[in-house]
Symmetry: C2
Subunit: 491 residues, 2 copies
Amino acid sequence: MEAISREVKEESSIIKELDPLFNPTSVAVIGATDNREKWGYWTFCSIVESFKGRKYAVNISGKDVLGYKSYRRITEIPGKVDLAVFVIPAQNVLPVMEDCVEKGVKAAILITAGFQETGEEGRKLQNEVVKIARKGGIRIVGPNCMGLWSASSNLKAFMLPLPVLDGPLGFVTQGGNVGVSILRMAYDRNIGFHKYVSCGATADLQIEDYIEYFGYDPKIKVVLAYIEGLNDGRRFMEKVRKIAKRKPIIVLKSGRTEAAAKAIKSHVGALAGSDKVYDSAFKEVGVIRVDTVEELLDVGVGFLTQPLPRGRNVAILTGGGSYGVICADACEINGLNVVKLPDWVVEELNKILPPRWSHGNPVDPAGDRNLHYYLQIPDILLRLGEVDSLIFMGFGGFYRFAFFMNVKIDGVELPENYEEFSRFIEEYSINLLLQWKRKYGKPVVTTTFHESESKLKNGVYHYSSPERAVKVLAKLVEYKEFLEKESSKKL
Amino acid sequence: MEAISREVKEESSIIKELDPLFNPTSVAVIGATDNREKWGYWTFCSIVESFKGRKYAVNISGKDVLGYKSYRRITEIPGKVDLAVFVIPAQNVLPVMEDCVEKGVKAAILITAGFQETGEEGRKLQNEVVKIARKGGIRIVGPNCMGLWSASSNLKAFMLPLPVLDGPLGFVTQGGNVGVSILRMAYDRNIGFHKYVSCGATADLQIEDYIEYFGYDPKIKVVLAYIEGLNDGRRFMEKVRKIAKRKPIIVLKSGRTEAAAKAIKSHVGALAGSDKVYDSAFKEVGVIRVDTVEELLDVGVGFLTQPLPRGRNVAILTGGGSYGVICADACEINGLNVVKLPDWVVEELNKILPPRWSHGNPVDPAGDRNLHYYLQIPDILLRLGEVDSLIFMGFGGFYRFAFFMNVKIDGVELPENYEEFSRFIEEYSINLLLQWKRKYGKPVVTTTFHESESKLKNGVYHYSSPERAVKVLAKLVEYKEFLEKESSKKL
């Protein structure tokens, strides 16, 4: 009981502190300008085009911006201001932050760079800014960041025009660049974020604060993070541990090597820390670590679209032998078990597949042309207690092949036109996928046979290679095992 | 002298044996049919649509195919036949092969499956077929393969409709499926093959035979191979060792694990062998080993478009700090050295970059908006004796950013329309890339900041992530070091 009431208290406290950032009623852009060559122009554009609440331009010149009246100082604004976005040079931030305190601003985003990453003087200035903000209870994002997105208030406070969709991911990134790439890739794949923040140098708000806030947001199902360095590892572990039990937290942590650690110092001014320490700390608190930007998104989508597998046993269905081999390699390398099929299942498959089929797992019908039987196989495999997950390969290219080969599905009339045929087969197989998912509650991870951008649609997403699909599945298993370990602790 | 004359003899011998396959004057398709549901239809289509030499349909029914007269037996064809393509059931192959011997056919492609991969009986039948073919001096591709492509005679002898471009790659694949994926990916990226063969179960011609043949083909600059198992490792090493000194051979070898080895047995009927043995054998003979299908193509393009670096020292230029960090990590993990810049270079860069730049390698201008200076940096870095290669990140997204920020290039008038602007900047930067390449003779590997399909154009190809670019660069270094070791042996 005490633990629960403590958690409720913590939840209400972090929500109270971060809500003015993600759900402000009014926003002021300090440094808003009509000059297209300045970040202040694009930041103000971004907010004006998205946010429905009150917007104010603050500019020392006092000239109107995009038709909005401009104020020389934030203190001149008549209404109250929840959030101030700074897009002015570093040396001017201090007095304006004092104004913000006077004005009663609750949160600030410092897009401005030129603080701790430039050396000792920059760090001193940064500390001064934070000190003043704290005096007034202002929480700070950044400095040296690219801004944030909040679907709950349709606020796109970015320093440049970026595409973003609403969706069930939360993302905190210490790299603006990596963040932009993720946004771009996610947008192209129809994957959305409910909240997104480029956290920059984390002078005040820390990565774990955002993760905690996202953790209590019921609209966020999976939390992603790109981390270069943490200011307080112990605090991170404490906060993140609680959230990891509620929802998956997937982290890309760079700075594994000496060369990268140096680069981090000049980038965000943080210390990368020992990679091994990070690795074991992440494991302990249940953070899922990935190796690349692409994998961060892959695994994120995996958690959104798949149930957790009960264990490490995998069945593989492949439209071609060599990809079956490659997938089996990837499974074993990633700690998954390519399960041996019971004899009676081999017998059952013998009845519907040509004699040249692989007679085992991976199940390779070896060029069989009857789609009807091919699409029956998942049902046979998923039914087995021995099988925890299915990897089903060959979406995309598979339909093309099926079309050319005049493939049939018993009892179904197929369109003769290629476009219509592809669309029909795609819908048909997606419906099957959704049926299997409901019926068996096991992951069915699908892949294409060539690199392409798949789109998330109806909860289905195809990965572009067996290796990528297997890595996702391995992370689902890892998280499942963490949850089991945690729940066994309680007993 | 003796070694050279032996090599000339070997060269003329392999060319003589494989030329009827890749440069036949006439081709017969055994099993050609009008029935779209059969492979014989698609195989005959593929040849009729591409090959300009004489084409014959052989079908036991004697019915015309696609307007071509059909012969019941190959022996009934009036003219001579160089190449016979088999698309008939396994049990019918033996007598037809006898006919081929009688007819004086020189080479055969056995698309037909159902031999050694099905077990002992299949293997016996296969041995019989090979025995008869050898009697008549017929060389065999396959069985259980998807066919081949030869740009030199515009022969596309595939069992299904596949897109392929002419170009400087040679490819032998033991997986039809993987081969099709590579063709698809290569086609989408404007990458071509001079010769391509799906080698199947390698009952007669071995993977090393194709590699040797490709090795002596002056139009093939880089050889790619996908291998599941070799029949004679020693023979492979002997043959491949000679070719590796002439041109790069890049190999994806699957079957690293127990699970995959089992899958290989049912797929091509080969033994995967110990992965460690393969690994050290490949190293010894100078074969460049890669880990994924995507990497096979990535590295192939790398060897086509980049000179070999002199050493492991790399300079990194990045449009964003976090990708600089990720790239530095990837370099060190892959054995490349993120070289320390001399003080005087840092001073020189201080003159053109804003104070917040990274002051080291990776060189990160930290949001500087002057493209003129940004594009001067490679020239400064490549000039250095300490720098063997440059990784230049940010193509693609970079232009978008440059447009929105009204970026300038001193002395150049930039288009105001986004499409034209992008096109202009792309051409402008590609011209610079080509200039640097000529001027310094060092690799300049470029990347975008998000997954996308780049197209090979004017010898320039952008990779979709720093990790992928770094892996390519590491393989270029590996090959360079192999060549150096070999040439030091001769001294």
